[in-house]
């Protein structure tokens, strides 16, 4: 790991000014991706601004029909939240399937969302549930946030403060995990909520995307059978040593059917 300067921010304002005065500063949340990348010298920031010392960035609360999760809330805390289990159980369950127990104790929702790994679980939840990402500058709809592989709408120095999830009528997430890494080979989050039926796919391509043909079919009839005969175009998906694009396309249909079945208790 290359040398860097470490700063523990005492407030969001303090973090913003530390980032602004750094050459090539990066925000440090749980560090479960960033520290590993720095060890491999894939990332070499001049400064790290640690948000761990800002307590108001952690926690889950309800605001009307929306569940708000602070950016520094760990996957374990999301998984264990009774409020979430009562309102969006699919989201709590998703958090309990990320990485392994130790990664979940340290990794955060804000870090995962800002990193936008093409096989991460959370982006599928944000897109399907029509979440809103709040930063210290503005709010961004999930539809506009995930712009490409490891790319987001965040500007340099912009920090995620919290993420708001409208409570859906029903939702479920099903993934086919890579047996070694536990990352989603394909993961599908299905939600029937205030914005209608939305189906978001992770792991299959260069970034999370919505399966709009699936959404139309499910809007007519919310049942696994409604997806019979529907597929996604394999030519736009990823193929690698773990799975071919054609296999991933097949898995999208299978995971989507299972998710619909799960969310309807079928």
């Amino acid at each position: 790991m290359y040398e860097f300067a470490y700063h523990r921010a005492t407030s969001l304002e303090n973090a913003a000014s530390l980032l602004a005065s750094a050459d090539d500063g990066r925000v440090l949340a749980g560090g479960q991706t960033l520290v590993a990348a720095m060890k491999l010298r894939l990332a070499a920031p001049s400064d790290l601004v640690d948000l761990r010392g800002i307590p108001e960035l952690s926690g889950v609360c309800r605001d009307g029909d929306t569940m708000i999760i602070g950016a520094m809330t760990t996957h374990s805390a999301v998984n264990a939240s009774d409020d979430l289990k009562a309102t969006i159980p699919a989201l709590a369950e998703l958090a309990g399937g990320i990485g392994d127990a130790m990664v979940r104790n340290q990794g955060t929702i804000g870090g995962s969302v800002a990193n936008n790994d093409p096989a991460a679980d959370y982006p599928a939840a944000l897109l399907a549930l029509g979440a809103t990402i709040r930063t210290e500058r503005r709010t961004i709809a999930a539809d506009d946030f995930f712009t490409g592989m490891y790319e987001t709408a965040l500007e340099p120095g912009e920090m995620i403060v919290s993420i708001g999830f409208p409570i859906p009528k029903r939702a479920a997430y099903v993934k086919f995990p890579n047996p070694a890494s536990r990352y989603a080979l394909v993961g599908v989050f299905v939600a029937d909520g205030p914005a209608g039926v939305r189906v978001a796919v992770t792991g299959a391509g260069s970034g999370v995307f919505r399966a709009t043909a699936f959404e139309s079919a499910l809007s007519g009839r919310f049942a696994p059978e409604a997806l019979d005969g529907l597929t996604v175009d394999a030519s736009e998906l990823s193929g690698d040593m773990h799975a071919s694009a054609e296999y991933r396309a097949h898995l999208v249909g299978v995971m989507a059917r299972r998710a619909v079945g799960k969310s309807t208790g079928a």
Binding site: E3, Y6, L48
Partner: protein, 156 residues
């Protein structure tokens, strides 16, 4: 460029100068000579470096030492002694829950985090909780048995 780091390790306050790029596992092993915490893969996969950070199991090869400022860290040395093993350690010995022993400190620390939240875990829950701990002797069967017994012994 080093910074002053203060934290609590195994119940004792510690204060020392560290470079920001120091990993928690290197602080424990090299600076504090707590070599019970092992480095296996050094890529946050195998879990041999598992310690508790404010009561929760984390992989110390993937945490910067400076991230633990003001926190409480517990290592395998902090849970028992040679003369009086922790009941979970004793269960690993009694049930032959180790072969080469390299992964064992991490297994024990993960087991204790699990039992703290689930005092009577099922065998399936134990296996799920060990997802991030790899034993290359593949002694998982006896490790699961040991954790089951260790959890019972802790309640006794």
């Amino acid at each position: 460029m080093s910074v002053t780091l203060s934290l609590e390790v195994n119940g004792k306050p510690v204060s020392l100068e560290v470079a920001p790029r120091t990993l928690l596992v290197d602080l424990l092993r090299d600076s504090l000579r707590l070599t019970g915490t092992h480095i296996g893969c050094d890529t946050a996969q195998c879990g041999a470096c598992t310690v508790h950070l404010d009561g929760r199991a984390v992989k110390s090869c993937n945490v910067l030492a400076v991230q633990t400022a003001g926190a409480k860290v517990t290592t395998i040395e902090g849970i028992g002694s040679d003369a009086a093993l922790h009941p979970m350690q004793a269960a690993f010995r009694d049930h032959h829950g180790l072969q080469c022993g390299y992964c064992t400190p991490g297994m024990v620390m993960s087991a204790l985090d699990l039992v703290a939240r689930h005092p009577a875990p099922s065998r399936d829950e134990i296996r799920e909780a060990l997802d991030g701990n790899i034993c290359r002797c593949t002694g998982y069967h006896n490790i699961v048995t040991a954790i089951e017994a260790g959890a019972k012994a802790m309640k006794a």
